[in-house]
Structures are given as structure tokens and as C-alpha cells.
Symmetry: C2
């Protein structure tokens, strides 16, 4: 049983990398079998269908994201420290997905936006979960007084996601050497707009 | 000759729609011939290669974008009116690309980010041209005093592009009914941060 789990984990790890290279839609049990020199029937026993394989790849990648990005960030104090940690780790994650294809979620978002079905539903669910998490981090920042009480946490989460999509576009397509600096500047702009105005004025005075 | 041009235009129009449906990479002379019930050899005479076809599809779509979005916006007075017009028309364009696949440029950006070659180069060029245009619109807004002189026009263009990528993600993948309102809120946030601070304070006072 334990050996079976380990094998399954190793296969899913490989499948995640393959999906980043060929797209989630390009990922099939046949292709994976060829890539791993395993029998197609053995892999079918593990995953049963292409869709089930794709869904488990999304789940595996989401679980890695939670371990690497989300959990350590949530261990930081509420408000700006937690938000900064989340953003920094998220950016590191995006940068580390250098294997051709980049971040699986960003690629899959464009690949699947017009393909209804269980894989798309799983993707949408992981994205909504993460947006909700970002909104919660913003909300707890309001709770400790780091952000204004009239900041809309869902808008904040949406804007933060947009900053990251801008980073992907600038770094991966345009190969803009300033991509990371631009992403941080966008992030700081969101933070500045969310701070209580007295705090904002004080910080500006300090910087000047 | 004129008839040839018209035919070519009609074929490229169809090819652009097909590309939005099957992706720029899925667009081939064979597929296009099948779709239009034309002979493959006739289309080869027009376009010579798959890559040349893909490049002309990008050029056609970029030219449509300039006509529909850029030119009318540049006819508006400098500063906020021009920028607002550009953003509003751009959002209308994004919304109008409802055919499966959505905006060709956004889809192609993810599709081609790891595929070096002339098609990718053409895509990068159109994206850089548009970012430059947005930076120019921002710069002329500084010139007329609508934006602070220390606003970085390239950062502003990058941030504006990120707002639009966030809109695509929210509207196409998440089917978020608030996608457009979120995009406008993001845009207003960028404008607010770019305004001279006295103007910013005055407007806030007015809103309160």
C-alpha cells in the first residue's frame, strides 16, 4: 500500500511537469506511459481516465502550492507581514516554474476557459479557493489596523491576482528584465492604497 | 488585383476567428482550407507557409485593434479623457471577443511564450508596441498636469495591462459577474495613485 502511494506520487510529480510542458489538455495516459516507459494498462489501473489524471495533477500542484507558498505565509503575523510573505513566496513559485510552460494554473486558465467539464471545474475551484484565501489575508490585515476598514478584500484579492498575471506576461512572453521589479511596484501600489491615510502620509513623509 | 485583396481580407478574417477557436498554433493552411472549402494549393499560393499565415493573422487582428480601440481613443483630449477612452474601448474589445478562445493576443501569449520563432517575435512586437502606446498616453497626461511628474509611464502601462489580464481571468475562467466592475475599480485605483496629491485630496473630499 505504502509503496503504491509512493509510486502514485512519483507518477503524479512527473505528470505535473509533463503537463507544464505539453499543457493540461496534452496530458493523456498514453503520453504519460510513453514518457515513463510504463505500461498503459498499469497507468489506467492507477488513474482510470484522462480527466481523472488531469484532475489529480491539478490537486497535486495545488497541494504543492499550499505547502510552499500558503502555509509558511500564514505562519507570519497578520496584516502586512503575512501579505508580503504570501506575495514574495508566490513570486518565487512563479519564477521557479521555469520548465517550459510555466505555471500550470496560468496556462490551464487560458487552455480550459472554453472547455466545460470536471477538469475546468476543478481548476475554477482551486482558483476561487486561492482568491478567497487572499481575501482572508486582507481581511485579517484590516482587523489588525494595517488596512483601512473600507478596503474591499475581494477586490484586493482580484487586484493582487492581476499583478501576478502581469508578472507572468512580462517575464514569460516579453522576457522583460524589469518584470519582477514591476510586479513589486504594483504590489506596493496596492498596499499603499489600502493603508489608513494617516499611516500613508507618515510613510510618504519618511520616504521623502 | 482588387478582387484578390478582398479575397485575401475575407480569408484572413475567417482565419482570425478560427485562430481564436483553435489557438494560433492550431491554425494551419490545411485546416483553413477545410474550413473554407477551398483548395489547399490555392491557399498556399496566398500564404506560402503556416507561419506566414499565423503572422498575417496577428497583423490583421492588431490592425483591427488599432481601428476599433486605439485611433478613436487618440482622438480624445490628452490625459484622463484619452486614457479613459482607451480603457473603455479596450474592455469593450475584450468583451466582444466572445467567440470561443477569447482575445487572440491573450491566448497566444500563453500558447507561444515558450515557442521561439517568427510568430512569437511578431506577437512580442505587437505587445511591446501597445505597451509603448499606453506609456505615451500616460506621458502626455503628465504633460497636461493630470498625472504627477514622478509617475513612471512604463510602470503605468504594465499595471494597466495587468488590470486587463485580471479581467480576462475573472470573466473568462471564473465567469465572475463582477469582472468588469473589478477591472474598472483597478483602473480607478491606478488613476488615483497617478494624480497630483492635491487633486487626489480634492476628489476624495468631493466623493466623501
Amino acid at each position: 500500500m505504502r509503496k503504491g502511494e509512493a509510486t502514485r506520487g512519483a507518477i503524479l510529480d512527473h505528470a505535473s511537469r509533463l503537463a507544464r510542458r505539453v499543457g493540461l489538455e496534452g496530458l493523456s495516459i498514453g503520453r504519460l506511459a510513453e514518457d515513463l516507459s510504463l505500461s498503459k494498462s498499469g497507468l489506467f489501473a492507477h488513474f482510470r481516465s484522462k480527466e481523472a489524471l488531469q484532475i489529480q495533477v491539478l490537486e497535486t500542484t495545488a497541494a504543492q502550492f499550499v505547502e510552499i507558498v500558503v502555509k509558511p505565509a500564514l505562519a507570519e503575523p497578520r496584516g502586512e507581514p503575512r501579505l508580503r510573505s504570501l506575495f514574495r513566496r508566490w513570486l518565487e513559485w512563479a519564477r521557479s516554474q521555469k520548465t517550459p510552460g510555466g505555471c500550470l494554473f496560468v496556462a490551464a486558465a487560458v487552455e480550459l476557459d472554453d472547455k466545460p467539464g470536471p477538469v475546468r471545474r476543478k481548476l475554477v475551484q482551486t482558483q476561487r479557493d486561492f482568491l478567497k484565501l487572499m481575501a482572508n489575508v486582507c481581511e485579517s490585515g484590516i482587523g489588525v489596523g494595517h488596512f483601512r476598514s473600507d478596503v474591499d478584500p475581494e477586490q484586493f484579492a482580484h487586484d493582487l491576482y492581476a499583478v501576478m498575471l502581469g508578472y507572468h506576461h512580462a517575464s514569460r512572453l516579453l522576457k522583460d528584465p524589469a518584470a519582477e521589479a514591476r510586479a513589486y511596484a504594483g504590489f506596493e501600489g496596492l498596499l499603499a492604497a489600502a493603508r489608513p491615510s494617516r499611516e500613508r502620509a507618515r510613510r510618504r513623509g519618511r520616504q521623502a
